[in-house]
Symmetry: C2
DNA sequence: TCAAGTTATGTTATTGTATAACACTTTTTT
DNA sequence: AAAAAAGTGTTATACAATAACATAACTTGA
């Protein structure tokens, strides 16, 4: 089987990832007539700047540091709520943390590989997972609304070390 | 495809489930030379008495009610930690809640179907999911330590209504 | 253009989830 | 019985999320 280490585990020009994500977010919000306000864009940027999922309070502290004034939890949570609603970010339940979605234009479910060593979380292909989940739910007579798949382990880079 | 509604969604003698779980837990702890203390057994019983996953603070309140004195969070969390360690219970990340494991003797991963209507969570068969996850991780060169699969939707009983 | 309505953010307080650090008790081992 | 280990109690605190209400900023339509 061919092994493709996730992009996040390879060295790459991450600034271009961030830029692309912000551009895509702007496009999507324009299409949907919703507002990517400065705050929302700032939160999205902070999340994208980290390959590791960021907690809400980490984001709060970064915002506070950037603006030199106190930012209260609801401010951050509302921005997160907006970004989640428009699938610009995902929530990692096992970490209580948030990470940028690399393909917000394509409707898709988010399955994650999370490295317990370096902390990096990457979306993984739905190819095998999506049909397996569909079959599992169908055989139990269950109607799917939402799904959360989080695989914890060690990424290729950390395995080498 | 044959539809098998999860046991939890059917009426059944749940007391015998609880009894079996406690017996199995005793057996496992004896084998491993660890102690299923009264507190741990009490927490395990409380969790088993509920088909819905129980939060730590709900367990705290139940313990407090049963013993008529205050129980502090660490007491409960330590019991939960022990039960998790020995796979006598599972944690449902999307709910911050805990549920009994019906087959603690068999090493297995826990995949869940969670009904957003009645709140019942049931383990679902690994038949399709386990190989899909293995293939997905392998194709990314990822070593699996742990996995969390939570499918949220509506169970057969709630769909009928 | 400006008043009304809507959307977004600020602010204070509170609830829910989880752990750290240290004291004390019980069980196990020697 | 003393020492060591395991378990529980207690206090305080960190981290995660939301409720309720006030203010500001944008949008819309006469």
């Amino acid at each position: 089987m061919p092994q493709q280490p996730p992009l996040a585990c390879q060295s790459h020009d991450h600034q271009s990832c961030i830029d692309a994500a912000i551009l895509a977010a702007g496009r999507i919000c324009r299409e949907r007539s919703v507002r990517l306000t400065p705050l929302r864009q700032q939160v999205l940027t902070l999340i994208w700047q980290s390959h590791k999922p960021l907690g809400a309070y980490a984001i709060m502290d970064m915002l506070a540091a950037a603006t030199t004034r106190r930012i209260a939890p609801p401010t951050v949570y509302r921005a997160l709520e907006f970004l989640l609603e428009h699938k610009l970010i995902h929530r990692i339940n096992s970490l209580n943390a948030y990470i940028g979605c690399p393909e917000p234009e394509n409707q898709h479910h988010s399955y994650f590989l999370i490295c317990s060593d370096c902390g990096i979380a990457t979306e993984c292909p739905a190819k095998y997972l999506a049909p397996a989940i569909a079959k599992t739910a169908a055989s139990a007579g269950f109607d799917i609304d939402d799904q959360s798949v989080e695989i914890i382990g060690r990424c290729p880079s950390c395995r080498k070390r």
